[in-house]
Symmetry: D2
Subunit: 277 residues, 4 copies
């Protein structure tokens, strides 16, 4: 439905990752290979941290990414050590800025690919489960933003994997109560500006694709001639809906029902299971 | 906050009413005289019925009305016996199509000028009061759309004045529960394509301005030289946030706490009071 | 590059042609089969005549057609005996309303699929060839609009086929002067509200696809069960970049280097050749 | 018609200048005091240099600045030592991104308030005077962009004041040839990323307002309690269409028919006269 990308590591111009690679995210807005739709033209967003900011900047717009000149300008002039980018293919909710990813709450950003089955029907029940204080800040009408606010309700800021597990448990229970067999399909990225968590899960056990980049050290050994790899730190990491570029050995699939944590000092990959709420 | 206009009578090109008058609605988007804001540039909408349609067409966009070329095209080429037009000055909710008036539900249209005080804080309680079946169709984030769905919940399609009275009663009670002294300020127009109801009310008893046009027969006597008046039927009527044009004797203020009904066979003006729910 | 459609005949809701068919024009905005690009998401336009108007209404916007709600509204509520519709895939010029087709001049409308090779380089020479009085009305920056104004300069309103032939001759000569081997690639539709002319030509003799619908009488005999065919007049005709729907026998290719004229009283198909200027 | 602002000095968040002051530029988009129009809602732009870039980033959009969330994001997160900002009130040319200021050419930026009288009629003659190589990059349809490309044609990159004087001379001569008494009205800012030139001129000798900020050293003596003044360098300077804030002694009018140069090492104010071409 959508495609997204999370970058963490040595500060780079957004362009380096968003436009430069052969099968870049912007190229995927017109020609996605692994998505349900080949076109992701229903809005886009980028969110980035700078070294001096407490909160990320979030730039979102409603047209296709491929023709957006302001996105090109930002990509050419903004440098960041940690950023999210997302291109949207709507599954029915309106094409409007408040429905574009990433979503932000304080220092936190969230983006999502997938969907809640029959969201239209269970939206009210989910909305009621959102903390009333947080409800005030719900602005759009997507399942993705609702999932974010549910995760915040369930303690995202204290325990991201636990909160996401509880959010998923809650969404699946509510879906089942409405007679939906497979209520959720998701790959989700979330960050507080220091760590990135990326989840792959679906009720049916057939989740959307998700990949993480090979350790830079290993890639350098494989491709000593690629300049970019000499310039970025060992801990630089990308997580993507589908591989960028065509570098052999560069991409690894995130296994079904698991999540990864990208953090200074060493990344980890763990299994994921919904938690009943 | 906003400005609006409702027309019912002899079919005319929208242009006749939207652009032609000296102080037209489109002029009011830049230079409103009686509003809280002089500029109403946060989106606009027109909704019109044609003789053969069951539901009205609704054209809404997010930029200012004064520079919108598509609105100009529609006004120049669409003829209708009953239409609504609205220009928006946002009181904080996002500038997006789903927040533009008029709102539509089946054959019904609704538009509003004013606001629910501290809507942000009481939005959740109001949302809970909307009929769960109707909740599915809530698309935007304005107080105006919420008021429409509450009125629908309270029986708008069977008894418009009663349903609006109950909606107001419910909003005022909820506001008071949250410590808001004067929860509501509104002029509202609603139609099923045959009749138009227009309400003027505010909790404080100091409502936004609202005017209705003098009976065509009387206007013709006053201004025998005005061609337009010869062409329209006796029952043609306009209701507006502020007078268009500068025709002496053409406009009458809708009294505080009252509502009018425009219908084939004779219009009426009645008093309005919130109804406890 | 782009896809377009021209309809002339019995007045129908635009929806009947724009959305209803299996492989409709709106579907082609996401999934064109015969175009250079599968996605046509860089703006769109519809232009329609009504019985009482002198000039057509033109509704154009910059986002993708597939998600545009106002286009849906217009298609659902506007009925016309003659209309153009166009979905755009930009070949480099900005995505803006003034670059969307159809273009209008008085009673005339023009739309185009294809392109002038290296237009960027020969644009100035072409602009100089436009009648200075007409130059005032050039608003956008596309090759398509320039071709329209050149055709107007060369007498479009008096002799459409001749003017288009001279425009093509002039563009090809100018291209050749700049060392361009194959300067032009085009399918063009033009109308004065009564007749429609549709041209297929390219300097290389390998033009973009173009189809016209089979005579209604013959189609009725082939498909007696299709209700729509019973309702439209014998002279109803569609010209399209690629076939809509999947009705066997419904579509015929316009031959290379030819043009058709759709008019009350009988259509014609003639050969086309550029005319030196 | 429009309002603009140029900042040069100690790097600041754009927000400090664009939103924070009492009568900020963003506030002027709704409530300009000195302009011909109080509302400047027909698009906007900001262009900024960063220390590491060769060319400025330019962010432009078509809606009003006051409700644009992406502008808010950029203002909150981008820091720059030299930036331009512009809010537009169209004098008739379309509201589209390519008509928004500032315009960019390589390292150079240009923005304008005012207009060429009867531009529609003399546009073609002016376009012909633009260097054919530069003509390729003309994207929009405004008089302002045309003035920029004429100035570039007349040597802007080598001699800014001379080139602007020749551009003005050429525009005034062309206007007079078409019978226009007072062909030009302008305040213009132009920069190469190191110096800023600001011009005030009109054919009639009654130019739009233009102000420059008092030397920081003097302002500090006047207002020792204002923290911002302690933080910026002595050479920090603002040039604006109308004063921001309400700091007594902070603003000085640029005299009629003169121009200022803001540069490291000392600013200058000189007289300006058109130069016949």
């Amino acid at each position: 439905m959508c495609r997204w990308l999370a970058y963490a590591g040595t500060p780079v111009l957004l362009d380096t990752v968003l436009y430069k690679p052969v099968h870049s995210l912007i190229d995927q807005s017109l020609h996605a290979r692994m998505g349900v739709e080949t076109t992701n033209g229903d809005g886009f967003g980028v969110g980035w941290y700078t070294t001096e900011d407490d909160t990320p900047a979030v730039f979102r717009d409603t047209g296709p990414a491929w023709s957006n000149r302001n996105l090109r300008e930002i990509a050419d002039h903004v440098r960041s050590p940690l950023f999210f980018a997302h291109i949207r293919a709507s599954t029915g909710t309106p094409v409007q800025q408040t429905n574009c990813h990433p979503f932000r709450h304080g220092r936190w950003m969230w983006m999502h690919n997938g969907g809640i089955t029959d969201f239209h029907r269970i939206r009210r029940d989910l909305a009621l489960a959102v903390d009333p204080e947080l409800f005030l800040d719900l602005e759009g009408s997507t399942d993705s933003e609702m999932m974010f606010y549910l995760a915040l309700t369930f303690g995202l800021e204290q325990d991201p994997p636990g909160a996401v597990a509880r959010m998923v448990g809650m969404v699946e229970r509510t879906g089942h109560e409405h007679g939906v067999e497979f209520p959720l399909q998701m790959t989700v990225a979330v960050t507080d500006g220091e760590q990135v968590w990326a989840f792959r899960h679906s009720s049916q056990g057939a989740s959307r694709s998700l990949y993480y980049s090979t350790q830079v050290e290993a890639l350098r050994a494989l491709h000593p001639d690629i300049e970019f790899l000499q310039e970025v730190s060992d801990e630089t990491r990308l997580i993507v809906s589908e591989p960028l570029g065509d570098l052999p050995g560069a991409w690894n699939e995130v296994p079904e029902s698991s999540y990864g944590v990208v953090r200074p000092g060493g990344d980890t990959l763990l299994s994921f299971a919904p938690q009943p709420v």
